[in-house]
Symmetry: C2
Subunit: 329 residues, 2 copies
DNA sequence: CTGTTAGCGCGTTCAT
DNA sequence: ATGAACGCGCTAACAG
């Protein structure tokens, strides 16, 4: 920076101003500094900047995994928006393990992140304590939360209620539910609870629930298990598209028409869902918007701007051909 | 750190040694410092450390997109291994745009990354120049490269040759190829070139080639376009699983048996591939291993260790039910 | 609007 | 094996 200052015939402070607050500087000085920067191919030293400014211009994100498309999409959108706001993104993943998540948080804090993006709002008390002690802004994503934490997400239970209402309108009265593990996963837990509650409050028999690992083939197996226990079910509600893909495939194998014999629903609206046969009725999770909003909330907060502390996004129901009128008994 | 030093009754230099080079310090001193660190819940200041040590313990990765499962998987494995090696990961994405990629590299360098992970080896000269000028270690991933850059990946063309050999052995002589865009994508370009070369060198007619955007439904359309132009084709080689999924689906719609009338192959071996109906014959891209190796190569180089500069990984052919004997004419 | 200067918190010589 | 002191490159008062 000293080199740039010398070449432009100004002080290092002015160089710093041109770089950080260009409008606090005269047009002429800015011009000279900018051309010196260009000539010397100068690049700021981030660590020195962070040390002096007590701000790293870096945000950390901890997701359960990047292998799930919905998180990969969210992280990508997060990074894109952060970049536009002059921030970089440090990513870590927890494999859905709260202990790992806490460790990752520590390493991110050590890196001096200005803010943290979490997935879901159910986390270890120690994690929230650490965030509070270090006064690190954070935002919980994908869930709408409980009002105690900043968040941007959807109401999973409510979305499930919408979906069940759609099935009820089609005449379905006997439901089956296939869910991925709810342990350490508040999003899925809310979806499951929402589905069960909606079915019950409609006066229907409580649905048979089958829990299976998050994979297409597990969805297939789950359908068989479900039909063995509840052969009268006419609608299968899956808490994720991945399972629904397996269910639709297995239904074909079993010779059960979808939606003639069985209506099937998913959740997430992966790219896959619309290209399935039949196309999947599912709930759209606005991952890109979640990522972008999280970026804005965090950067806004760091800059001391007044920002929304809780954003509820719509999770729209996409009705496609995998759901239809319940078969006559 | 001064607080820790005071509480342990040692100098800050000793605290630093305990943290960074524990074996250069007496057992007793280490014990005292460690307990002081624990008592005070001390966390290192990453920026200060980076400034003093001229090393950020951070690696940057620029991928085309995280939306593609193969990259999300690779990034996840990369982060996991980096974490084990005491490094954090800064991610950026280029959307397959070389100009964006160069911009992202600049912001990563500004953040003081100790190394860079790139995807593919065909990049703008300006990008390589910047890397050279800043003396930043880097590794190209997914491709095996041309010997001029450190890399860890597979030989896409060779993998395609293996796959074509499999089809030839099944009696296929007329091929069609469906590829995603090859512009600014050396992996796909190599796959396409490999497929075409293998077909020609077997003495078969050059395959009809259809290029389509990277999406399942585009794969479906591509199959129709392909069959319109080359109805005699008995095998459809796709450069990505995603297209193969669309092709298989469209074949069913058209009433063409797979593999009875048409053999179909993919590339990548996404989780999806094995769960398709029929399960997809495809090439497995070892994304996890690529990520892990890239981490080791970069960290090793930063530490001045002798490390492999080019690693060729095997891309095995997974033969499944989407390929079969060519139909009799 | 611009320059001067004092740290930011650590790693790393150099002594001992 | 340990401590003292310097400086990494920059920003943020403050003064002018």
């Amino acid at each position: 920076m000293a080199d740039v200052a010398r070449r432009a015939g100004v002080s290092t402070a002015s160089v710093s101003r041109v770089l950080n607050t260009p409008d606090q500087v005269s047009r002429e000085l800015r011009r000279r500094v900018e051309s010196a920067v260009a000539d010397l191919r100068y690049v700021r030293h981030g660590a020195a900047r962070a040390l002096a400014a007590r701000r790293s211009h870096t945000i950390g994100a901890i997701v359960p995994t990047l292998g799930t498309a919905i998180f990969a999409t969210g992280v990508e959108a997060l990074q894109r928006r952060l970049d536009a706001l002059g921030h970089a993104l440090l990513v870590a993943h927890s494999q859905n393990d709260p202990a790992v998540e806490l460790r990752q948080l520590r390493t991110l804090l050590e890196r001096g992140v200005d803010g943290i993006v979490l997935v879901g709002h159910r986390h270890r008390p120690a994690l929230y304590r650490l965030l509070a002690e270090t006064r690190t802004p954070y935002v919980c994503t994908y869930t709408f939360g409980n009002g105690r934490h900043a968040c941007v997400g959807i109401d999973h239970a409510r979305a499930m209620a919408t979906l069940v209402a759609h099935l009820l309108a089609l005449g379905h009265r006997r439901f089956g539910v296939i869910t991925s593990p709810t342990r350490d996963n508040d999003r899925i837990a809310q979806r499951l609870q929402g589905a069960v509650a909606a079915v019950r409050s409609a006066g229907c028999a409580p649905p048979e629930v089958v829990e299976a690992p998050y994979a297409i083939r597990d969805g297939r197996e789950a359908l068989r298990a479900l039909l063995a226990r509840a052969p009268e079910a006419t609608a299968v509600i899956c808490t994720t598209d991945i399972h629904a893909v397996g269910v639709v495939a297995e239904a074909r194998t079993l010779g059960l028409d979808v939606p003639g014999r069985l209506s099937v629903t998913g959740f997430d609206d992966l790219a896959l869902a619309a290209d399935l046969e039949p196309p999947l009725t599912t709930i759209r999770v606005p991952a890109e918007e979640i990522g972008a909003r999280a970026a804005e909330m965090l950067v806004g907060r760091v800059l001391g701007k007044p920002v929304a502390t809780a954003i509820k996004l719509d999770a729209e129901l996409n009705v496609r051909a995998s759901t239809g009128a319940a078969p006559r008994r």
